[in-house]
């Protein structure tokens, strides 16, 4: 490339490897520089808008124009941007949150038997319980009779809906943890969640007694 028509116009990095290998010291392309300076400008903008600089103690810049609104104990709270407030905001105010709250309250108030009787509540309760069952129960109970894996724990259904609810709340087996057959869920799951699970488990158990029922 270097000939009379293309004189050497750029510097090299000035040191030579293996006797003759040199490296051009070209500037990066202009687009690259622009992007680089854009990130610098962006960082200044980011410092202003987001919580950023600490000044010791508990004081740090909270950023501007970044209020997040959420409810805490019935009061509306405004916080500067942070992921915890954002989570509460999402859980409380996203699409469908109001409806979900309403249904959860209905389930809390209803007895398991009333849930079964109400078609709408039942539909909500089932979809809630299906997820919870997958996250918390399948690893012992399996998701059908055939793969109930732990201690053959499948739902006999002899103790009724309330019995199921109490079993899920308090677990099975007393005394130390080691003696537990099934853990208690009342400290891990909420009241409506446990009720929904009791109904769900009871339906699994009736699915066993009537194996021809495909629904």
């Amino acid at each position: 490339m270097l000939d009379a028509n293309h004189p050497m116009v750029v510097q090299t990095t000035s040191h030579i490897w293996d006797g003759d290998i040199q490296e051009f010291n070209n500037l990066p392309p202009r687009g690259w520089w622009r992007a680089f300076y854009a990130t610098v400008v962006f960082s200044v903008f980011y410092w202003i808008v987001h919580p950023a600089w600490p000044f010791g103690g508990d004081y740090y810049t909270k950023g501007i124009l970044n209020k997040i609104e959420y409810q805490s104990q019935g009061v509306t709270v405004y916080a500067h941007w942070n992921t915890r407030a954002l989570l509460l905001h999402t859980l409380q105010q996203q699409d469908g949150a109001a409806g979900r709250k309403e249904y959860l309250e209905k389930i809390t108030a209803a007895s398991p038997r009333e849930i079964v009787a109400d078609v709408e509540l039942m539909a909500f309760s089932r979809s809630l319980a299906k997820r919870l069952f997958g996250d918390n129960c399948v690893s012992c109970h399996g998701n059908n009779v055939a793969n109930a894996s732990f201690g053959g724990a499948w739902f006999a259904g002899g103790i009724g809906l309330e019995g199921f609810q109490q079993t899920i709340e308090n677990g099975i087996g007393a005394g130390s943890r080691g003696g537990w057959v099934m853990p208690a869920w009342k400290n891990r799951l909420s009241v409506p969640e446990i009720k929904a699970l009791a109904v769900y488990a009871s339906q699994l158990s009736s699915a066993r007694t009537e194996p021809t029922d495909k629904k």
Binding site: T13, S14, H15, E23, N25, P51, W53, P54, F55, G56, G57, D58, Y60, Y70, Q71, S72, Q73, V77, A79, N82, T83, R84, A85, L86, L87, L88, T90, L91, R131, D135, N136, S139, C140, N147, S149, F150, G173, G175, S176, R177, G178, G179, W180, V181, M182, P183, A184, N187, R188
Partner: protein, 243 residues
Amino acid sequence: MKHEWIETHTSHFLILTLLVISIGGLVEIVPLFLIKNTVETVAGVRPYTPLELLGSNIYQREGCYLCHSQMIRPLQEEWLRYGHYSLAAESQFDHPFLWGARRIGPDLARVGGKYSNTWHIQHITAPRSLVSRSRMPNYLWLKDRPLQYSDIEAHLRALVRAGVPYSENQEQYDKNVALFGKDVANRLVISRARENLLAQVAGNADGNVVSPTEMDALVAYLQILGTLVDFKKYDEGYFARFR
């Protein structure tokens, strides 16, 4: 500055590289040390008992953290699946902390109390006997290997150096009583570590008390993960105030 000055002198190159890399780390980490609120004020978090501590050591030795994180992030999906997001306060006594970043298996930050001890023992020994498509290895040896606890006092003293309040004398003990209550303080006394360890194994009932196994320690550790803070005592907005 000529490239040559950097590229032909390893030491120059090294020092400048370190300088540039450390800026990112310093800017992200140092502010958290300066803000008191980083570690939330919350009741219930205590140092590990001797048995749990050895369990944590086995967890590290077996590399469980390579597949399991212990850090529930404040995201809706994780809130629904694992429960309350992790607090900084909950790992304040962990040295090293085991937050992890990879999740080949589920997060374990709140696995305590989710299963029975017997389930854990069977699952760790043969995961596929319970979860047919599990990718977790069979840890066959943990059930039979006797727990090495003759050096437990040294482990506790090392942690004291890192700031974990195990007690060596009456003054420290009294402080722990004030901080955690008498029951917990009794379990943090270094000179009583072996006695406490054996008592906890016996309390878990399914171990051979004469010679505790590594499994006993590992399961005791798993069973307290995420259980120390009673979140029902705090209203939903409380922990958001620390950010």
